[in-house]
């Protein structure tokens, strides 16, 4: 079931959590709401769930207005950040809860409940833990119980608030892939909130980048990563090097670089900044093309990519290079190297424009 969010605004006291947000979640897709804390992503998720009412705007579920519908009637499965499991109930009872509280006419029999819960516990690979209390489980297991509990009521939409937020790195990796596989198996419409760009880019079909109560960009993971619509998106989806400068007469003058910038052919000069990711910079010992000299001040060789930090007159520059390239070059700390960006995205002022090299 598709979800449509139309002009939703939510104000808490003097704080505008959401400012006229429009969003369409196509049926069967897994969408990530990505943004820093305070960007309104959790408020949006809670409004979609019906845990919060918007001050303006509407929520449509499969074309029907659901704005006034209570969370009980929305048929959403909600997985809370801290799981919110019922501590005094066993894993089995937690999962069965949604079935047991149904009105008598729609409540399945004991046998059916048992079968359904066991099936769900198998789905989340916890069928051997049914008798445990939530306190006896690890974080990752609790997360999966919360998911099974949400799925028990056969929701049409699954909503997850920071589903991997409080887990350690390794478990988080596993659960992420597992959630992706699960989604491919059961084809629910899903929305999850995260502040971790890697998580959003890896798991979601579509990423919604939010900032200060507004949506900055919506797109497939490779779209938002490769073609960020705004400097905020560029900045938020991984580390960047920023070169400040100006654009005028079809040229971008960014300190030592000058690039063609046909989008601004006017003679009048405007402030601009060039954004380059660390892996989009080439480092060599000889000057070639538009670049700058910088001194190598830091080096981290551990891992598949080597991270270099260089000091340039305008500030530090982060560079990532492949291990092979590093072995060829063997740069020494303190050495002065030539840095040349392969790709620069130029944003006017602090606003949205894009250019390439």
């Amino acid at each position: 079931m598709g979800i449509r969010v139309d002009g939703v605004t939510k104000i808490f006291g003097a704080f505008k959590a959401l400012d006229g947000v429009d969003l369409h979640v196509p049926a069967g897709e897994l969408v990530a709401l990505l943004g820093p804390s305070g960007s309104g992503k959790t408020s949006l998720l809670r409004i979609i769930a019906g845990l919060e009412r918007p001050d303006h705007g509407t929520i449509l579920f499969g074309g029907e207005d659901a704005t006034a519908r209570d969370v009980r009637e929305r048929r959403v499965g909600f997985v809370f950040q801290h799981y919110a499991l019922f501590r005094h109930m066993t894993v089995f009872e937690n999962v069965a809860f949604g079935l047991r509280v149904r009105p008598r006419s729609r409540r399945p029999g004991q046998q059916d409940i048992r079968a359904r819960v066991e099936q769900l516990l198998r789905l989340v690979q916890l069928d051997w833990l049914g008798d445990r209390l939530p306190s006896q489980l690890s974080g990752g297991q609790r997360q999966r119980v919360a998911l099974a509990r949400a799925l028990a009521v056969e929701p049409e939409v699954l909503l997850l608030d920071e589903p991997f937020g409080s887990l350690d790195a390794k478990v988080r990796q596993e659960l992420r892939r597992w959630l992706r596989r699960l989604h491919d198996e059961i084809h629910l419409t899903g929305v999850f909130v995260t502040h971790d760009q890697e998580e959003a880019l890896e798991v979601a079909d579509r990423v919604v980048v939010m900032n200060q109560g507004r949506i900055e960009q919506v797109g497939r993971p490779e779209e938002v990563f490769d073609r960020p619509a705004t400097s905020f998106v560029m900045n938020f989806l991984g580390s960047v090097n920023i070169f400040h400068g100006r654009v005028e007469s079809g040229k971008a003058l960014l300190g030592p670089f000058s690039l063609d910038y046909p989008d601004h052919p006017h003679a009048e000069s405007r402030p601009a900044a060039g954004y380059t990711r660390p892996h989009e910079l080439d480092v060599s010992r000889s000057e070639d093309g538009d670049g700058l000299w910088a001194r190598l001040s830091g080096l981290n060789v551990a891992g598949p990519v080597v991270k270099l930090e260089l000091s340039a007159p305008a500030g530090p520059i982060q560079v990532e290079m492949a291990r092979d390239r590093y072995d060829d070059l063997k740069p020494q700390l303190g050495e002065t190297l030539y840095v040349r960006p392969r790709k620069v995205r130029i944003f006017l002022g602090s606003d949205r424009e894009e250019g390439g090299l």
Binding site: A49, L51, D70, V71, R72, V76, G77, F78, F80, Q81, H82, A84, L85, F86, R87, H88, F97, G98, V101, R102, L133, S135, Q136, R149, A150, A152, V153
Partner: protein, 279 residues
């Protein structure tokens, strides 16, 4: 020797604090209680038994324990309501009401007794209309229950308040998102979390009511066999220089108090274990 009782601790002073605790408890609690039991023993078990099985004494025990139990039940219900309202809702005068809950703690019990009597007496503000509908309060067992309810309320409210504050609202939202209505959420999710603290509050209020004297003696009228509570009977016996009788009743009260304290501790241990298991 220390190693046996304590794991390594950054703060020193186990020996000193343990010694002080034992000495202090002995002086204040254990020695007087031992003296009481020793005193009762000197009168012989037969005489003791004869005293505590007198109809008047039995009736006073029945009233003391029965009225205390009913008062604790009333407090259990309304204390939960008050605690819930104070924690969950923001209304004008909330702080004032929150402070008023402690009044039965702070007020000298005799003052409470006089106040309650003047209100519930047949010519008082509440006593007159209640008398008119055929439900007199003062100088009846009902009056005893009213007084014991008054002094027991803070125990239930104050034990429940922090627990209600600690309740995770997300859990209630989770129940709602799973389709539970308010009643189901309360009965299946909230009550089980409150139960240990609720039982503790109930038991504390019960224990306090059993020992209560000052606020009851005015409103009860102290009619033998009808509205005479056990602590009053102890006083009466003492005034008649019947030390053996007073001691015998005291020992029974002491044993009952011990039993109640044991239950409180068992409940606290149980809720503590559940709280520890949550982590």
């Amino acid at each position: 020797m220390k190693r046996v009782f304590t794991s390594h601790n950054v703060l020193p002073g186990f020996g000193l604090s343990m010694g002080f605790t034992m000495l202090y408890l002995s002086l204040i609690v254990l020695i007087p209680l031992a003296a009481l039991i020793f005193r009762a023993m000197t009168h012989g078990f037969g005489a003791m038994w004869a005293t505590v099985t007198e109809p008047r004494v039995i009736a006073s025990f029945r009233l003391s324990f029965g009225a205390s139990f009913l008062a604790a039940c009333v407090n259990g219900v309304f204390g939960l309501t008050v605690a819930w309202a104070l924690v969950r809702y923001r209304f004008p005068g909330r702080r004032l009401i929150d402070a008023l809950v402690d009044l039965p703690f702070a007020l000298p019990t005799a003052v409470a007794g006089i106040a309650l009597t003047s209100v519930y007496a047949p010519n008082g503000w509440l006593g007159r209309p209640l008398e008119a509908i055929g439900m007199p309060v003062a100088f009846r067992p009902l009056g005893v229950i009213v007084a014991l309810t008054f002094i027991g309320l803070p125990f239930v409210v104050r034990t429940l308040q922090p627990v209600i504050e600690d309740l995770d609202q997300e859990v209630e939202e989770a129940a709602a998102s799973l389709g539970a209505n308010r009643g189901q959420t309360f009965v299946r999710v909230i009550l089980p979390s409150l139960l240990p603290a609720w039982l503790t509050g109930f038991t504390l209020s019960f224990a306090r009511a059993i020992g209560e004297y000052g606020s009851v003696v005015f409103i009860s009228g102290n009619l033998p066999l009808r509205t005479e509570i056990a602590p009053l009977l102890i006083m009466t016996k003492l005034e008649q220089y019947d030390y053996a009788g007073a001691t015998a009743i005291s020992v029974v009260m002491l044993l009952a108090s011990f039993a109640l304290l044991w239950i409180i501790n068992a409940l606290q241990w149980w809720s503590g274990r559940r709280a520890a298991a949550r982590r």
